[in-house]
Amino acid sequence: MLHGSKVLIATADRLTGIGLRSVLESYFAPAAVHVTPAVDADRLGRYDYIFLSVDAYLRCHGVLTATKAPIIVLSQDDLRNDTHRYPLVLWTRQEEAGIIEDLERFQKRSRPSVHVQASTLSSREIEVLKLVAKGEINKHIADVLSISLHTVISHRKNITTKLGIKTVSGLTMYAVLNGLVSSKDIG
């Protein structure tokens, strides 16, 4: 839990450091947040969470592997899909709400979960996928299957998570390869 935690923010970029400190202090009060431009290796052990700029992370990589606290790398780019290169990545250039959301996610898992649990699609999801592959829009899919728009969207999210396929044409390719639709149906 971040609440009541000791937190270190190590970055040479003062604005990022100060901004993040105020977010952490106000949302996870009472948190003791320390901002520093440079990491003091001997004192790392006393923190519950360590936020580092990429530079700081690359510089003291070796020391960090010994600490138990979760390491969160601060990035100016959206690297949230790059979890295989870094431990936890916090994208600092997003809105405050996004930062909070990410922080809450970090609390749930202090290890990156690279792969989502593999499982096969449910029969409902297959119905949705077939219609997506045929190029139907969400509204129409909802009408055809007599379900709400919201449900269609959540099915689509689950399909993408399970298969690891993000684009409509990727889903279409999957559906054809698996014989769910014929290539004649996809225009």
Binding site: V54, D77, K166, M173, N178
Partner: protein, 243 residues
Amino acid sequence: MQLFTRDTRLADAIHANYLLIPVVNRFGIPLGFGERTIREVCRVHRIDVAFFLAILNVFSHPAYFPEKALLTFDPLTILSYLQKTHAYYRDVQIPVIERQLRQMIRRAGKGKSDLLVVRRFFLEYKKELLAHLHREETVTFPYVRTVHRLHQRRRSSHHRGKGLTYSMAAYEKEHNNVDEKLWDLKNILIKYLPGSVDAVLRNAMIYEIFRLEQDIRDHTRIEETILMPRIAQLERGLGSGTR
């Protein structure tokens, strides 16, 4: 992997990350540079060492962001690098993947119909990528040249960036991820295409797509973290770029 510095030997950088080989080539540096450091190689080839170093580090460290050096890079140097990268995608990487796909289809027995589905997807992606490159080459890059020119001969105020119909803000808005479909393609080739196709060619194609995906992702980061802020800075000097 450590951040590279001017005193890193170029060969050591490549040993640390072999994906840098085509990047180095794009700067007009052929292999065979012996023990020379990055600083020395840049001197020989008359390359801006700060920019070269920034590119090597962007390509090797996914979150690297060259803050201090950023404001000094020459816009035309950035453009020339981006342009060469586009040419490499168009003339080398895409044709290589297409050739691999063609060979696989030619050799395929019962897996042929599946491969035709993959080809259809790939051609769709190719179209999307080429359109992206074309848009940048015909709209964004010429605009960058104009802003650079205006900035160089900052004369009377009416000559400034008034009549410009494009801006870095507009570029930022329209600029999209052109690597998403590659992720899907990779996943299909790894997980869902049945095993009845030529394994050697299939593996080679997957490697090639991994490389292209990574290269494009880093290229996009250069456009967004180097080109955009650098030109936005010139725009501010011209009192334009609000659009």
